[in-house]
Symmetry: none
Subunit: 137 residues, 4 copies
């Protein structure tokens, strides 16, 4: 799995990690039973504070996505996949609703918004295709 963080986008780093794990589990990139990197190791890789990784893992344990295996590390919970998929859907719906509300509250007509959205998605779709041709996951 490829870990990435963006220190400049306002979203707390630990939260980026939490979502990244949830999404990876939802997509099957991380499978139940699989051991995730140790906090120290991952912190080193991403050049961030170990406390930050610790906080992310800790939240994921509360969410029953990860579970500590004494002495061996931290692993993905069995059965986490389905739950993560549900959570992903809820979360994305919320996010979409937010920006739709903002746009409408800002005076954009629904059709203008549709057009704007389609333009953005199309662009990303194109990039995605090119990207997957070059590399893949």
């Amino acid at each position: 799995m490829r870990w990435t963080i963006d220190a400049d986008n306002g979203v707390p780093i630990f939260e980026q990690l939490v979502r990244q794990v949830q999404f990876a589990v939802a997509r099957g990139i991380l499978v139940p039973g699989q051991i995730v990197p140790s906090t120290r190791e991952l912190a080193r890789q991403l050049a961030i504070n170990p406390n930050t990784v610790q906080r992310a893992y800790s939240e994921l344990q509360n969410l029953q996505v990860l579970e500590p295996l004494r002495g061996r590390g931290v692993a993905v919970c069995p059965g986490a996949a389905r739950q993560c998929q549900a959570e992903r859907k809820v979360w994305l719906t919320e996010r979409v609703q937010q920006v739709v509300d903002e746009a409408i509250q800002g005076g954009l007509a629904p059709d203008e918004l549709r057009e704007l959205f389609e333009r953005v998605v199309a662009r990303r779709e194109k990039q995605q295709v090119q990207h997957s041709k070059r590399g893949g996951e």
Copy 2:
């Protein structure tokens, strides 16, 4: 103009005010030369601290959207409309891009995203219609 703030949505109050003014100017609800409510008056209306309003107005002055008229109040700058419209467009595009990226990075296929988006917009559109039947601006 209708002023509203939501103290619980994470976005700083002063920032909500800044955006609200920018959008209102972009939509022509506030027109150049018009005097906006005094800091104290608006603070009273919204039940927030005058300093918070002051900060919002202050930032809007930096952005050349508002200008103080000494002793008389604060007014919308001439020529602010066009600039606010441009700014609104940029800002909304950024926001849409963010959530599109999040969705795609979360493993949603473009078509699934389109469907999700359309569902949300349709719902809001319906509410909007009912709302405008009842009240209007």
Copy 3:
């Protein structure tokens, strides 16, 4: 005498008026004994608040530049010319010192500052010449 004010340059209006009178007296444009416009009249001309004119005149009386003549208006004090010239010199020296200090404190070498100053003065000088050809006082 030509009265002008600039509501947007940060300098309080009443202060602009005070300086304008002082300078006019120093240059002989206003002579001792001459009656200045009534507060209401001047306020009307400049489209400002009569209180503002009143405040300016009041300060000028404290400075012994103007004196009220009961029933006839406000006049330039006898002997105000010399005093205003002295005051003008002091005041301008202070102002020049201020910006010189700012420039040096900002890291500009004296010679760079000299060059900048000369450029600005030369430009103004040129404008002044053209201006006096067209109109004059």
Copy 4:
């Protein structure tokens, strides 16, 4: 870097700080990536309120001169140097123009103004030399 403020010169403290940082960056005294003192620390040093420092830093972030590094402090933006140099030049030119205009509007002949300016600069230059002999930056 040496921080100084003058609470009695009419210029708001936060603005003095803003300019001081801009000039220091322009001169290379503060370099991109460098961490500036924490708001609390600087406030303590200068014996002012932390909010005042906060406001200065906040404005400098809007100007893209400083950027917050979450949990670690506030740093000079990469690329801020060139921008600050440009800004400094514009700002100083404006200031010089102001006093030149005032002087000319006050009836001073260009050559009288030149003489006044030269006298002031020469005096400051002399002080500067003595000062740098004693101390240095």
